[in-house]
Amino acid sequence: MTLPPTAILALHRVEKCYENGVQALSNFDLTVFGNEFLTLLGPSGCGKSTVLRLIAGLSEPTRGAVAWAGASQVDHRHEIGFVFQEPTLMPWANVADNVWLPLRLRGLSRREASRQIAESLSRVGLEAFAAAYPRELSGGMKMRVSIARALVMRPRLLLMDEPFGALDEITRFRLNDDLLRLKADLGCTVVFVTHSVFESVSLSDRVVVMSPRPGSVIAELKVDAPDRRGEDFRVSSRYGELCRAVSKVLSEAMADKEA
Amino acid sequence: LAGLSSPAWAEQALTDVTFGTNWLAQAEHGGYYQALADGTYEKYGLKVTIVPGGPRANNRMLMTVGKLDFYMGGSLIQAFSAVEKNIPTVVVAAHFQKEPQVLLSHPGQGLDGFESLKTSNDILLSKDGFATFYQWMKAEYGFKDEQVKPFGFTPAPFIANPRAVQQGYATAEPLTIEKAGGFKPNVFLLADYGFSTYSTTVETRRELIEKNPDLVQRFVDASTIGWYNYLYGDNTKANALIKRDNPEMTDELIAYSVAKMKEYGIVDSGDTAKLGIGAMTDARMKDFFDKMVKAGLFKADLDYRRSYTLQFVNKGVGLDLKPRP
């Protein structure tokens, strides 16, 4: 399989059938291009998390293939940052140690990593809770620790599964902006799952809408807006238009399947 | 002997009596099984149940606390201990004049005399043996603690190691070893070297002696008669009972044991010629006690005389059953 020149990976006619017989994906095609911000949008249970897991190599397609540009997939594993849908923190480690993990697994000592950990925690507003244990955090705070953990390693490919779902709007917007800035800084690629149509439009270069289970791509929308988006874009009429367009595709997709 | 034919007992209901032995049923318990098998106990108004012991059974304590009426003592050491600990038990008869305890060694290894055993560094002893006769061997002959190795109740290590010495019973181990190891071991009967304890004694609680001396007398007499009959009469029924209680017992081993008991005079030798089987004397008791004091097992001021009574023995019971030579 050959990939388009700027692509970094592609899912080709992927089918994923779980052991209990549930078919999560069927005939799923997706190409991820370098340096882009791609959002997956789709009804609950349509296979978005499954797609991210396939990309990360945590799961293998029943049929079809996940192809990487250039080298083998394993090469990429350690360059992937993944914010899982659930916080998945280690209960026995405090917040700072949880964030330390990806660096620790790369051989950095706690001291060597301390600056990066502090930076990452302050990005999500949790400097004061570095010594707290996961069970002492609120739901949103746990998710923020998980985000800090994914960012601390400055990944080349960032997979985020509804990272901001449990956060208030203010924090969310702030993190949205942060994320865009970080992406520009690192020059990384982001594959993002969200349920917020607004978020998908305000963040991404491309929105991929999935059908209900078994999931497949039913629409792709390019968000043609200035690279640096801010409050301006969010109140522009173009923004409203795009949101409505995405919403429409989404509700059509679900209506289709229900019929 | 007047009571022997008294009809009064026969009419009364039989008295239940339990007798705990100190090992699995074997020919060394033959007298009691004989009395049971041929109806001697019944004749004496006793319904006897023999409770076999085993390597870790605790029949001694069961007698002490009253769960058994009589107990077959192994040596006098426990009897003296009972006095020391104020345990009200008393030896009323001694059916073995010699303890069949032996030490075994390989022939032709420079271990052919008792004193030469001191040169072995692998004397396999049980913990009981170490605590008792070995203390005497140390005091009397100069054996050392360091020579002792644990004995796991299997002769295999002894057979495998030609320099080893092992404890055993004159009536069993030499045969087992001969069959498994293919050689005749040297046998040293401790009794012949001065370990002068009585063995296979009958012990009971002082309270029973005081309350029912008649019962004790009947049990001692009937058992003694059993021993005469077992050794000199037809013992096939007794052996059948032994084999019932211990299905692994073989006729060959029983025959061997009986032969050795006779050969060494375990049951019937010395004082028994006049006093009858089961005999005990103050002189023997004193001799053994003094040896144990010397071995450091007891303090010299212990009133060891309280450990036994001659009230029930030395009456020549059953002497008439012994065939004239």
């Binding site: 209900p212 | 390597p55 605790n58 304590m61």
Partner: protein, 284 residues
């Protein structure tokens, strides 16, 4: 909105399962063959190490004696195990219901557990009838792992679920009786299933121990002679230097233990297969 599940029959019998069975048996066969060869080649006498073939022959020829003993031992083992199960679980439940009881009694349980049964068995005989003493020994040895692991399980319940039950399991009325009832409900519906994995791990330890307990109990307190178990056969064979039979008895014990263990493992698999990490096949 969702399409119906196409129900599949689950995992088929695959290469993995075949391996799982073939490997230990293969290795076992190899080990036995090596043992046989060694004994023959080095001419090791039977009283030091009997060859497997000789042991097998002994099992066959002595089957009447051995099987009777096996039954006796098995009976003690199973009774002891059942008692340990009931006792361990009941104590764990009691402790989980009342901290007061736990604080008061747990140290005694620990004392009971750490006191070597072989040392107290002769004493037990003084205070208890023989049958009871034997069972008490088997029980003492096996019950602690069940108690300890069940307690771990009962205490390791997810906090969220505890809250859930505190809410839905609360009785509409108050008072000690109602509180106890709601406690019991939580115990049954929440702590019981949550404790299952740890409890079963305890049970896996306990089956082996109850067998050991039965043997120790037989050795220490059992009757000799006709109605006696494998422990007696072992001592007796040892004493009589009937080493092939000793090994035969040991092998029978080991097989019994493995079968019991296998049964518990099978139960574990069936009970946890659908939900617990430790029993799930690794999915990709």
């Amino acid at each position: 909105m969702e399409r119906p599940l196409s129900t599949s029959s689950g995992r088929r019998f695959g290469k993995r399962d075949a391996l799982r069975i073939a490997l230990p048996f293969g290795l076992l066969a190899a080990a036995i063959a090596a043992w046989e060869l060694y004994v023959r080649a080095a001419g090791v006498p039977a009283y030091i190490l009997p060859a497997p073939s000789l042991i097998a022959r002994t099992i066959v020829s002595d089957w009447p004696v051995l099987s009777a003993s096996l039954l006796v031992t098995l009976r003690t083992t199973l009774l002891g195990l059942v008692l340990a199960l009931v006792g361990g679980v009941m104590l764990a439940v009691l402790f989980s219901l009342s901290r007061l009881v736990e604080y008061s009694l747990y140290p005694f349980m620990v004392a009971l557990q750490v006191t070597p049964v072989i040392a107290i068995a002769p004493l037990l005989l003084i205070y208890l009838p023989q049958d009871t003493a034997v069972l008490a020994c088997a029980w003492i040895v096996a019950f602690f792992p069940i108690l300890s692991n069940t307690m771990l399980g009962l205490q390791s319940v997810d906090r969220g679920l505890i809250d859930l039950f505190a809410l839905y399991g609360a009785s509409p009325s108050e008072g000690p009786a109602a509180r106890l009832r709601s406690h019991l409900r939580v115990l049954w519906h929440l702590r019981r299933p949550a404790a299952l994995p740890a409890f079963l791990a305890g049970l896996r330890i306990a089956v082996g121990l109850s067998l050991i307990g039965a043997v120790v109990a037989e050795m220490a307190a059992g009757s000799a002679g006709a109605g006696s178990g494998l422990a007696y056969r072992i001592i007796e064979s040892q004493y009589r230097l009937n080493i092939p039979r000793l090994f035969a008895a040991l092998i029978l014990l080991a097989i019994t233990g493995i079968v019991l263990f296998g049964a518990v493992a099978a139960i574990t698999h069936v009970l946890l297969r659908r939900w617990h990490e430790s029993a799930l096949a690794p999915t990709r």
